[in-house]
Symmetry: D2
Subunit: 320 residues, 4 copies
């Protein structure tokens, strides 16, 4: 990208606010990340807001910024103005949009992080051109977004769709939500690690490289599976079976043309997604007598949220 | 509305095609049924089509008919022109809409029966004014419709949403779909009768009026429950628990402002819906920190489908 | 058997008291049934006792009877004198032994019917010579008897072992005992019929000869399976899987050298017992590192109880 | 008992062979431990045997030893002569009894450790005078012993009864035995810790003192419960429910007059045993119409095995 191009057409900033880091990416109309900044997250709401403003200004010095988007991991109000609750962030019922807008001279847009990632995939990634499609972001839990005719479906109160807590095992594994047997206790990166730990504990005699890690993650299990560890492969098999159930549920509920699997586990999708998809196709209602959704891996990786929310902001600002 | 108004303004016919009866209702712009006809269903597709045309013509003699809507219990293509498959009806991949249109001089509209009923409730019944809402028609199985901004959500291929076969009990009750543990095997009129039969069989010593009926239905169980039969009440309790789970799932998936419960069981909703709703409100994600959907009983009863599809046809024809 | 042999050595009578019929068999020291009588059961306790005495006297006219045994389907006190409770029989806390003894001039012995059958198999049938073995009588429910060193194990209060109500499915099928998920709700002739009915109901479209029988039994299912009916075969497969679990449980609990499968289902054991046994052998603890129990079919059929209790009585009377 | 009496009458040594320690107790005819020795366990079978002989000789210098008993945590052959397999000990198919007997001039007896503990409780502890009773030793797993008329019931091959792997949850928690859903995965000290860990993991937001211990045990959970920790109390509630199921299963299977609960968890029995017993009494077959087994806590604690096996040896040697 030449300097002149950069000046010719304005860019948009996408923020990703996490419990650990605050990241900003400058995104151009081709959906490319042309610049990035990163800071440690602060515990205090005002400090965080100040930091977002500072980072924006610093990027404005280097780019012709036309809009700012902020992806938030939490509940927003249906108008995407207020952060109602976000487990790992300092805001509670905070009018974040107006507070940022007060200090910034370009339009600000807030969006839920899964929706942001979905919009990124829709504009520049795995879902380009899809009319009715769903993103399943599978990591710590399950985040889902439904897009229909280019719009994000938000339900009546901005919360839909919430698939991670659908009950799939009566009196099953306990969940932080207070219920038992929720889908994301079986189908998530967390669940993969949990399942591996369960297998380890159940059989103190089994050797596995995972045994030496007191606090391993789903990613560690996938790495061990890739290296041929038998216990990790068993845990992966269980996870894959549950993923096929989850995919078939998405197929039943939304009847989409496409399901994009994103989130932390998608980096290792080559290990499981093809098998899970084949199983899922036998589980949807009317299998054999209806078109099946395509299942694809997300393409934008960890930047999807920033690219998506920057583009949403650009779109809201009429930039592109 | 005066008689003269009725004649001044055209009406629309709504057909309800069932495995046993073929019913037609003449519906006016106030959503009232002003005339009806009924015939026995025929086993042959051509005969059925001929009958629909004849009934239409007969009603046209008595009314100024401006449109014809046909509610079909089966899979339609996404454009609602072709009956792909309907378990109890004679059509298979049949272009029913064009075949009827050929013989009728007013616009014809086809629609899935659950969607028709939903549209009826939306225009004249329990869901008037609702922006994002879902109909759960609970009878033989579970039929669901999502309406958003006045539009019926159909998914990519016209099948969504299909909630009856979401898996809720691993290796549970067998289902006609080939899987086990589907939601509608626990939460439907059929399931209510099944549960009562299970209780009866498990304990040959229990006396219950249901024992004398070899082929009782969910409706019989509810009647017995109303009369105080203890076994029926136990079966009702189990059904109500599953209904609360189903309602919470609809809440999680669609985050609607309203859920309308229709279908066969809704006639006895006073027996269970209030308790089930209260339980459901504790089961949705974020209970206590989010608005909860209202839960209402459908208002149009068994005419909802005809009223709805007649109105859809009237709307397509630009009548009202 | 010649007349002279019959007179040379005394015989013993075994009664089988059922809800429908009262049967008596004259059993010789070789365990052979040499004579039988049958009457309809009476609803009244005194009538039944009178009938037993009459039938005994009638048989005494034709045979040199040295003892009388009575097999009862119900709870006996640990001394086998009192019928505490028997669901299908008229006695409640009745000192049946002393009442019969009062009118009969030969020693009378009472025994639980499953124990009687076990003793029959032990003396003349499938368990001859076994030191530690268990009978599993699988019919309406599961009856079990443990014999060790020639003695029937009765527990402290005459009830042991009761395996039919061990819990195997949390919140599973309801049981007459008030609990849910009891073993005999999955592994019995009743359960086999129930499972087939569940499959039929779940899929109204499946054709099966069973559909025409409103009140079919496990035996009907096995007959249909033998004739190749696919639905019956699926039900048999489920039953066989549960039987393998039940056999492995008996193996784990009692570590017997032999398990004899009797009861109603054993008449069709060729359909399932070999497969179930092979599966069971993989399920017992330490499979591969321990001796496995033999599994055999009961040999005395429906006479086992009368032969057994007659022989118990003969043994108590010192006849043989 | 006076010193002189102690010298006048010979004593017996009971060994407890664990993976970590080798303990020996000198037991007198009153069941009292009058002397003890302890050494570290060795990895080598010959070393271990040598050590047992040395410890015996050393105790023989101080006591008039009339017999030696050895409690082994493993599978013994039915004659209690050969250690077939013991997960944490060096012997495999080793004729331990004859090897020890070769070097010792007093009679040697081998016994399974749970049976030894049961015999201790029977002679001097909670089960004195019981005719038909069962010990449930609940710690790492579930060990069970049935005693009837003063004899230990061993089954045909010395393995019975094995209750820890009875299947109670289809497709439940994985178990080292290769199956899923075994009873001891829900009802053991290990399961208690597992359940608490599951609760912790499911809800990273819950605070509990257990969160700071990476490797806590069932004992830690009980300590936390005693201190009022809510998460530990929830885990205890689940454990107690499963214990009531386990107790009812023992009641159904053996119909004993008494169940003694021993093993690691019994030290905290005041926290749960009374509630679990009350629930269990509702779960046994025929509850309300049959005598219920008493449930007591084991009285001899960690010495039960040594006291029991010493007494078995003394009895075999005709000492007392």
């Amino acid at each position: 990208m030449s300097d002149s191009a950069q000046h010719a057409s304005p860019v948009s900033i996408g923020f990703d606010i996490g419990g650990t880091n605050l990241r900003a990416s400058v995104v151009d109309r081709a959906g490319r990340v042309v610049d990035t900044l990163q800071e440690k997250s602060r515990r205090d709401a005002e400090c965080m807001e100040h930091l977002i403003v500072e980072m924006t200004r610093s990027l404005q010095n280097r780019h012709q910024v036309g809009a700012v988007g902020v992806a938030v991991a939490g509940f927003l109000d249906p108008t995407c103005s207020i952060v109602q609750f976000a487990p790992h962030l300092p805001w509670r019922d905070a009018p974040l949009k107006s507070r940022l807008q007060e200090h910034l001279d370009v339009p600000v847009v807030l969006e839920h992080d899964a929706n942001s990632a979905a919009y990124g995939e829709f504009r520049y990634g795995a879902a380009v051109g899809a009319k009715t499609w769903a993103l399943c972001a599978i990591g710590t839990g399950i985040g889902a977004t439904l897009m229909h005719n280019g719009e994000i479906f938000r339900g009546a109160y901005g919360i839909a769709p919430e698939l991670g807590h659908l009950p799939v095992v009566p009196n099953g594994r306990p969940c932080a939500c207070g219920k038992r047997g929720c889908l994301e206790r079986y189908c998530s990166g967390t669940a993969l690690a949990f399942g591996a730990r369960e297998l380890l504990e159940s059989d103190p005699g089994t050797s596995s490289p995972l045994r030496d890690k007191p606090e391993f993650t789903g990613e560690d299990v996938m790495r061990a599976a890739r290296a041929g560890d038998e216990l990790a492969l068993r845990a992966m098999g269980d996870f894959s079976d549950w993923l096929s159930i989850a995919l078939s549920m998405v197929g039943d509920i939304f009847d989409p043309e496409l399901i994009v699997v994103g989130g932390g586990v998608s980096a290792n999708a080559d290990l499981f997604l093809s098998a899970a998809t084949q199983k899922a196709q036998k589980l949807v209602v009317g299998a054999g007598h209806r078109p099946q959704p395509l299942v694809k891996v997300a393409e934008l990786g960890g930047d999807a949220g920033m690219i998506g929310v920057a583009t949403l902001a650009a779109s809201a600002a009429g930039l592109w």
